[in-house]
């Protein structure tokens, strides 16, 4: 901040001159060193002034810009600037309009622009327009990125449900359904639905449900498993259960649920082997 010296100078002319000069210097510094990109163009869209922040934003130096037509260097911005002149009046300014500006490298920056006109003494003729902006490219990018990630999470949740419990056809007519982790009732229903539909679509005659990935089981999941097995058998396919861990086995017996209606094997490998043998014999 420059200090205006409150000195009474004898000659009035000198005082005003000095004051003016100081004021002008002050404004010059403000303009030049402002962090906000500022550009001034005249009524025929010729670029009059820019500051270093603008050089920084666009990658052009003042010598490259001053004297050039605005819409030649910046087509998009320039065309908007053309229409601006008519829109801005003495009382109205342009505030926070998003206009893109392409810099020297061809990169597009998104910015929020303010603009105002300088008028001639008559108050009506536009002498020049001054515009400043805030570069919001990064902010917008982050916004879009966040939106995208959110959508991805939503999509992935749906996809996970398919991926986590894939049905693998090991041999013609035999599929393995590996169950993993905790299965809530909604997912359980989806799994059963997919399983039974696959039986119809692919002419499956044996389903191997592998519980190796199940660490613990509660009453409703156990019941659901039982119902799934029953439905499989009702449709005419065989159900084989493999990979029941000891603690899971205990929980199932404690719950009183009988999975006797299906053959069980300790390991998935054994189950597959037995099924293949049976198929060959048939």
């Amino acid at each position: 901040m420059s200090v205006v010296r409150n000195e009474r100078v004898n000659i009035r002319g000198k005082e005003s001159e000095e004051g003016l000069k100081e004021a002008r210097d002050f404004l010059e510094s403000l303009f030049t060193y402002s962090v906000v990109p500022i550009i001034v163009w005249d009524s025929s869209l010729i670029i009059e002034r820019i500051n270093s922040a603008f050089e920084h934003l666009t990658g052009y130096s003042s010598s490259e810009l001053i004297g050039k037509k605005l819409d030649e260097v910046f087509p998009i911005f320039g065309s908007r600037a053309k229409s601006l002149a008519g829109e801005i009046t003495a009382d109205e300014r342009l505030e926070f309009e998003e206009i893109t500006i392409t810099n020297k490298d061809g990169k597009v920056r998104k910015a929020l622009w303010n603009a105002a006109n300088f008028y001639a003494a008559d108050g009506k003729t536009v002498k020049a327009t001054i515009a400043q902006c805030v570069d919001v490219t990064e902010v917008k990018r982050l916004e879009e990125e966040t939106k995208r990630q959110l959508q991805e999470l939503i999509d992935r949740d749906d996809a996970l449900r398919l991926v986590e419990n894939p049905l693998l056809e090991v041999v013609e007519g035999v599929i393995v359904l590996p169950l993993i982790g905790i299965i809530d009732s909604r997912r359980a229903l989806m799994i059963t639905e997919t399983l039974l539909n696959t039986i119809t679509e692919k002419n499956i005659d044996t389903v191997i449900i592998d519980l190796t990935g199940i660490m613990s089981i509660d009453a409703s999941t156990a019941n659901h498993l039982l119902q799934t097995i029953e439905a499989v058998k009702l449709m005419g396919a065989e159900a084989v259960i493999t990979g029941i861990r000891p603690d899971v086995a205990m929980m199932i017996t404690q719950l009183g649920v009988e999975i006797k209606i299906a053959e069980t094997y300790a390991s998935l490998k054994d189950g597959i082997r037995k099924v293949l043998k049976t198929k060959q014999a048939a």
Binding site: T192, N203, L234, M235, G236
Partner: protein, 132 residues
Amino acid sequence: MGQGEANRKINIQKIESFLLIAPQYMIHDEVAEGFKDEVLEKIKKTGVKGLLIDLTAIDVVDSFLGRVINEIATSSRLMGAQVVVTGLRPAVAITMVEMGLTFKNVEKATNLDKGLLILRKLMHSNEQTKGY
């Protein structure tokens, strides 16, 4: 709205040495009962040793229809015929299991071809055990 004469038509076809029942229309109660008698009559008349019930076209099996099918199966078995049920839809299977319904005294198969295979085997082995 009439009872729907069209609904009365349930095909019972004799194929080779067995009967194929494939309800094309949704069966309503009155029809189902009469149908049962018809089937048993035909088994008696033709002396077939096998019955294939295809439920592909059935969208709902409730306790009534379940009972009828079970009764057909049990009676047929008593008359010396093997019974195989095929084509049960996934949604129907789940619903039946949730309700506590099941088919007793029948073999089940996922589709008609498999059902035929099973039926033939059953009929064959049945003859064998009866053989001398």
